[in-house]
Structure formats: C-alpha cells, structure tokens
Amino acid sequence: MNKVSLIIKREYLTRVKKKSFIIMTILGPLLMAGIMVVPIWLSMQKKEMQNIEVIDESGFFGSNENIIKGSETMSFDYRIDSASGKTESLKIATADFYDSNYDAILWIPNNIFSGGKAIKIFYKKQLGIVSEEYIGNTIGKVMYHAILNHNKIDLNLVKAAEENSQIKVITEKLEATGKSKKTNTGLFMAIGLGGGVLIYMFIFLYGVQVMRGVMEEKTSRIVEVILSSVKPFQLMMGKIIGVALVGLTQFLLWVILTMTLYSAATVTILKNIDLKQIQQKEQVIKVGADLDYMNMKKMDKPNIVTEVWNDFKSIDIMTIFLCFLFYFLAGYLMYSAMFAAVGSAVDNEADTQQFMLPITIPLIFSFVIAQTVIQNPESSLAFWFSMIPLTSPVIMMVRLPFGVPAWELALSMGLLVLGFIFTTWLAARIYRTGILMYGKKVSWKELGKWLFYKG
C-alpha cells in the first residue's frame, strides 16, 4: 500500500475513534436541532397566567371601550373601593399586596394624558420584558384611539392609510442579456454568511488539530522513526489530508444527524401542529406566488417559508455548493499547511502563540470584513479580498449567492490554488527542519533561515 495512504488512514482512524470525536458528533446536531426546535417548542408551551391589579387613578380606562384587554397570559382586575365606588388608593393596594395573589400592581396616575405619560408597575417577581411591553403597548393603543376620537378623526381612515402605504421591496438582477432574475437579498446574506462562517470554523478547528498532531509527533519523538521510512512532505500531507477527511466526515454526520433529529423532533414534539393544514396553506400561496406581485392587491400575505423556498429555487444552488466545497477544502489545505509548520517549529503549546498570530489575523480579518462585504458584495473591497488567497475562502463564499462573474470566480480559484501550493511549499521547508529540532526556542529569523536549508 502507498505510504501516504497508510498515514492518511492512521490519522483518520485514530481521530474518528476518539471519544471526543464521537461526543462532538452527537452533541453538535443535538445543539443545532435544539436551536431550531426549542424556540418553537417554547412558544407552544402554555405560559403561566399573570394576574395584575389595576389602580386607575385617571379613571379613563374604566369604561368599556377603553378597557385594558387581557391576553392569554395576562389578566387585569380593576380594584374598586367598595365604599366610594372609585378606584382603590395605591396606599391600600400596596399594603395588602403580599397577602393578595396578584403578581403585580399597575398604577396609572391621574395625569396620564397631560403630565408624565408614565405608568408604574410594582411587582413581587419580575414580569419579563414581553409582559411589560404588552402592558405599555396596550395602554398606548387605547390612548392613541382616544386621542384620534377626541379630535374627530375617522379611525378607519387612519387604518386604511396605514395598510395601503405598506410596500414590499422586490429586487431583480437585470442581466446584460436583458433577462432578469428575482432575488432575495436577505436569503443571499444568510447563505453567504452561513457558508463563510462554516469555512472559517472548519479552517480554525481542523487547522489547530493538524498543529497539535504535528506537535504530538515531535514531543513524543516518534517523528524520527517515521521519517526513516517516509519523506517529511509525505508525513505532513498525510496528516493534513487525514484530518481533512475527519472534518468532512464530521460535517456530513452533522448534516445527516441534524436533519434526522429535526424531522424526528417535528414529528414527535410538534405533532399537535396540523401538518396538513400547513401544506394546504402553502399550496394556495404557491399559486399566488406565481402571480405578478405588481397586480397583487388584496391577497393574503404569502407565508414566509414558502416565499423563501421559492426564492431558494431561483438560486443556482448546485454551483454554490460545489464552490463551497472547493473553498472549504482549498482554504483548509492552505491554512493547515501553515499550522503544520507552526507545530513543527515549537516544543510546547505555549510557544505556538507568537507564530499563530500571523496565521489567525488574516482569518479573523476576513471574518470581520465579511460583515461589510455582505452589505455591498460588488464593491472593490469585496473584489480584492475575494482574490487574495488568504481571505478569499471566506469572502468569496459570502459573495457567491449574489452572483459573481465567471472570470472573477476562475481567477479567485486559480489564485487560491497557487496560494495553496506556495504556502505548502513554504511550510514544508520549515516543517522538515523544525520537526527534528528539539529543545530550542525558535525565532522568526531562525524560521527564515530554515527556508534556505538544502533538503
């Protein structure tokens, strides 16, 4: 058997058999599925009822049309003094607050319209931001209507004006050929950023693994035994490729497990959602989505999921996926060669810091400018950083969904391959010297000299 494939096999198997790999492979999808499912599940949980007693000194919110409406989770009781028939005083309410089963007292001062425009909530336990906002909004809405009414403005007119002035922004890419394509900027951003983040994480996680692996071989002193059988370059590439396969395996397992878990969760936990109903709704909207938006006037708002799905289909997903794989692998190969060089130059983890910095800076930098690039994917900043091999894996990934001219893509890929060959060549020269250098603290100058040693 070929020696490099023997090395790849060992690197792959020892890592895949590790407990930490198995735990991460299981925990990752649980976490991902959790992120997707838990919010839905939480929103379906019956919340505890919050009982609030209202001390309305203004007297305004007592009448039927101005009453503060309760919700599924909140109820409002007006506290009335039995003797006077008017609202109870705050003093008395606060005095027996802890004997009552109310969760909070809502105090509305009598100058609510003219003066402070503030209400106060006294609580035993915090009500939470949602409840607080609900109370504020509800009272605000009642007052808004009252003010309009007071000035004899037709409420329906205002409502109609509000509804009819809501517009939707539709973007279409107009090609030079005259054809145009509907686009969804939000979706593009999500795909681009998601892909970029994945590449960034993959390079970091597995690049460091390569570095650790090299250091392990060096500190355990096995390296010289192995180098009497294989060339340093073979050992380095075997490790890099082996770890890449581990990464791809983990990624694949995550995707499969997450999908399985997610669908299992939707079936079991969310079984009280009537799936048929959702599907029917979608079908109705699909017909609607094919209609010209311009002529749509009084149509139900299309379901967001279906809308995104339709836009999704408008993207050339296969190209993006293939490009993703390319940048994923080429970016990793380039960086991991440098990580391997760092691992070979040091004797312990603490010494890696000084050499790690120049590797991590372009990586972190590309992640940072990705946020800017996504706002303006065709700026010259975006162009240049998607050409420079050190940043292109992340930046080009971010740009891809927005559409990148073929020549730019080809140039960027070509440069990345060149960059990968160059860094690997550079790293291999440092690696083959460093790996046999024990107990010596290495400086940058020293590394530079290693580049010119004869093999």
Binding site: V225, S228, L436, Y453
Partner: protein, 315 residues
C-alpha cells in the same frame, strides 16, 4: 565488500558546519561504531544515511549503488531521540510502523508475534503505549527497528534508557543479527560496549573524522610499550638491572611487594627486559598496558599526544 560508503560528505547549517568532508567505509556483516562527543556531527551523518536530510555535497553508496529511496526498506533505524504514539495501541502501532517500512500486514503480524513472544511483551499487544514502562517501550522500538530484517541496522545510543538486564538482551540480539548477516552501525558514548562489540570504529570530532579503522589496529597503534611488573625483592636492585632495556616511570613498594611501570627502550624487546630483571626480582606478573578505547577517545578529542594517554591512564 562494503555495505555502505560515504564519500566526502559535507553538511552545513546557517551558523555552523555539521560535517566537513567525512568519508566512511562500513564493511558488510560487521559492527561499526560511530564515536564522538555531543555535537560532533554523528546524528547529522546518521540522518543523511537514513535520507531524512540530504548532504550539501558528497555521496553515499549502498552496496555499491547510489543511495535512493528504494534502499529505505533495507535500513532499520533506532534514533537517539525515540518515542512512540502514546495514545495508540502497541500492536496496532507496531503494525503501522512495519507497513511504513514496506511490509505487508500479514507478514508483519506473524513476525511481530515471534518477536513479542521472544521479548516477553505479547501480553501488552492491546495496551496503549502510555501504559507501558519505559523499558518495555524501548523493547517495542527495538522490535520495529529490526522487524523488516534490514541489511543495515543503525542504532543511535541503543543502550540508553535500558536497565542492565535489558541492555544485555539487546546486546545479544545485536550479535545474533550480525551472525545472521546484518551489518550494524551504532553510535555511542559507551566505550565499554565499543570494545566489546565493534569490529571497526570511526571517531568524529568537531564535524571532522579524526580516526578510523579496526578496533584491534587502533589499539595496537596507540600501544605505548609500557609494562607493569609486580615483583618481590629490592627496588634498588630492580632499577639498576633495567639497564638499557627500559626506563622506570613509576613505582610503589609495600612490605617487599613492589609494582613498577617501565617503558621499553627503543629497539628493545619485552623478553630482553624480562630477562634483565629476573635475576634481581621474583616476578609475580608482567603485562603490557594497552590503552582502552576510552583513553584513546579522550586523548584524540582533547588532541593530546599518545604518550599522554598513558599518563592519563596511570593517574
């Protein structure tokens, strides 16, 4: 026939020269000792022979052919800085290293079984290396070095880290392998083992070869013509009787038992010396003092005269 010839090897690093025009001939089926103080360039030379690094100039020939990658499988190397993957199982790891040397898995397995039983470590096959004692790890390392039956075995400080019992085990194994046809190149500071095992040596100091040849020849070459004579009788009479055959260097006398170091005069024979002193003294012992390899090593490295060697010795 030489299994390995190194011709005019030069290796330079940025700040120093590790090997300066070193030429070596290693005869087939012999044990060759590569000696020298720390930093002399031994490991650099060994790494070049193993093709881990390349020389700046000079050439290496393996059985008359220029050394290439295909010879890797005929060389076994036990480095001075040696170790194993700590987290890997012993058997799995031995199989991996054997396969890297070009053996098939089945072949490696059956041979490993033989060696593991021979060294009494077969119970540790499925244990992780970190659970093994250092001595046991060394045994595993030795096994994987010799497993593929290399023609040339390169051992860098093979006895360091072994207890005397295991060191002896390895020593016997080395002799056994030589008998079976292997050539062994070993680098060491342990001069005792050099005299015991080596047929030939080369001494490297400050990147240059300063001495080489067979152990017998070298010791003969450094012979000082000094004899130690133990006798009873009068020291005075003994001294007078030496006459022209020798010169007294040193003597001790205790209760009529005397010990003298005598340097043979130029042209004189040891028998003439013996005959001259016999009438005046009763001889208990008469032996020539030959410098040990250790003495020669120290003297050569410190660049002192051969006569100084003996002075070192007698002190």
């Amino acid at each position: 026939m030489n299994i390995l010839s190194a011709k005019n090897i030069v290796k330079r690093y940025a700040s120093h020269t590790a090997l300066d025009d070193v030429t070596l001939e290693i005869p087939t089926q012999s044990i060759f000792g590569l000696l020298g103080p720390n930093g002399a360039g031994k490991t650099s030379l060994i790494r070049i022979i193993n093709q881990i690094t390349g020389p700046d100039s000079g050439e290496i020939y393996f059985e008359g052919e220029k050394l290439t990658q295909k010879h890797i499988e005929q060389i076994g190397y036990l480095p001075e800085e040696r170790g194993l993957y700590k987290k890997m199982e012993v058997g799995e790891q031995a199989l991996y290293l054997a396969q890297l040397k070009g053996m098939s898995k089945a072949e490696a397995k059956s041979k490993l079984k033989y060696w593991f039983e021979k060294f009494e470590i077969d119970a540790w096959w499925n244990k992780k290396v970190e659970e093994l004692s250092k001595g046991m790890q060394q045994k595993v390392q030795f096994i994987v070095t010799v497993l593929h039956e290399p023609k040339l075995l390169i051992l860098d400080e093979p006895f360091s880290g072994f207890d005397p019992i295991n060191a002896n085990l390895i020593k016997n194994e080395i002799l056994h392998l030589k008998k079976q046809g292997s050539t062994i190149l070993f680098s060491t500071h342990n001069m005792g083992s050099v005299e015991e095992l080596c047929d030939n040596i080369a001494l490297i100091n400050k990147s240059k070869k300063i001495l080489d040849g067979s152990v017998k020849e070298i010791r003969k070459q450094f012979k000082s013509n000094i004899f130690e004579i133990e006798f009873s009788g009068s020291m005075m009479g003994f001294t007078n009787s030496l006459w022209t055959y020798g010169k007294l260097i040193e003597h001790t006398a205790e209760d009529g038992n005397c010990k003298a170091l005598v340097q043979l005069a130029g042209g004189a024979k040891s028998n003439q010396l013996l005959q001259a002193v016999m009438p005046v003294a009763e001889i208990h012992s008469f032996r020539e003092i030959v410098p040990s390899m250790n003495d020669i090593f120290i003297a050569k490295v410190n660049e002192v005269n051969p006569s100084e060697i003996i002075k070192n010795f007698t002190e």
